[in-house]
Symmetry: none
Subunit: 229 residues, 2 copies
């Protein structure tokens, strides 16, 4: 991908400058952020094709930033760090990082790893916007629209819809939904929540909430959001 847009999240000015100069010499365009919050904001606004994230940020834990980015952002993320412990690497890689480079690093290697990461997404041009029937879900802006009209959703309603939508077409069991939306809970008491919030969601997204077309019940198993269509 030529001329890809790359976001650099790092608090150290010299590193940022080094990266910026090198990347631009290779034909990429760059964005910079000096903190985690700022980085997440820039990622939301600018939709970069790739993100270079330094884990040693002043304002928040690097892995926390990683997790927040991965909630909606599909762009590859290359983690940069001075720490060389294996546990940290594994943790970052399992939380959404696509690669992990330890400082001090060779610029040539980093550039090659960037090319690999961009090769992976190369053609598919992933817009973080899901479309299900007349419903559009913009994960980055956290906006849900039905026939172009924005829909107000409470946090839990949104998380529930997001979980269903990112797995559109397949059944999400009660247990899976509880774990994703509420974060692990005792099953019996909580399985009731789901019915209530599915009811709320249907009132907001279905044409006829009594005869659900998008969000269907799989008796005894869970719920399913139909795929694309």
């Amino acid at each position: 991908m030529v001329g890809a847009k790359i976001l650099i999240i790092d608090d150290e000015a010299p590193i940022r400058k080094l990266l910026r100069v090198t990347l631009e010499a290779h034909g990429y365009t760059t964005l910079e952020a000096v903190s985690g919050q700022n980085g997440i904001l820039k990622a939301t606004m600018e939709r970069p094709d790739l993100i270079i994230l330094d884990l040693g940020l002043p304002d928040m834990d690097g892995v926390e930033a990683l997790s927040q980015l991965r909630e909606w952002c599909f762009a590859p993320i290359i983690v940069l760090t001075v720490r060389d412990d294996e546990a940290g690497k594994v943790f970052a890689l399992d939380h959404g990082a696509d690669d992990y480079v330890t400082k001090p690093f060779g610029m040539g290697e980093l550039m090659a790893r960037i090319r690999v990461a961009l090769r992976h997404v190369g053609n598919q041009a992933d817009e973080p916007v899901l479309v299900i029937g007349s419903l559009t879900i913009d994960l980055a802006r956290r906006i849900v629209e039905k026939n172009g009209e924005p829909i107000r959703l409470t946090p839990i309603e949104y998380d529930l819809l997001k979980t269903l939508a990112t797995n559109a077409g397949r059944v999400m069991t009660h247990r899976q939904l509880l774990q994703q939306v509420w974060g692990e809970q005792n099953y019996e008491t909580a399985s009731h929540y789901i019915r209530i919030y599915v009811g709320h969601l249907r009132k907001k997204i279905e044409d006829d909430p009594n005869r659900p077309q998008l969000l269907t019940t799989e008796p005894g198993v869970g719920y399913r959001l139909i795929a694309h269509s």
Copy 2:
């Protein structure tokens, strides 16, 4: 991707063994090749989901093997090597390698990098769909169709059909079915359930429920779902 098939191309037996044991402990299935030629052959024959390639091969240059694999093989390739020169890394990454790990490496890190690589191809991997005559069973989506028409099944009906279908062609005894579907029970009382639910299933999947073609009775033993068509 659980149970992915991983091909190990390495001429050193101890390394192969270490990788095999670790990978299989993580639930993967493994293949092994001791040379480049052999590796390319095995990749052609077995279509692994991922390849671990040691660059220090006796019979051919590692990058040459890499290039030959990439001519037709889209599975992710993780390169393993003792050399730590940056030029080699860049060369390998630019010639189709998806990742590059330098020996001695941490097993945890390698496993994490394997998970990342499999995550990239994960969603586009073909789903397991069983086909029995005019019946299709999509295990991932939990959808059963007969002549293209979806069929509604209750949880027990579905579990029963799934058990029979994953063992299509062979007889499932009453005891096996009870254990799979109901989860161990006293045999005498429960063997009755099976007849009832087999009856339900036949009504839904057979053309003529009175003359079963797909789901046949093995008197005194159990039931059998015919294999494929």
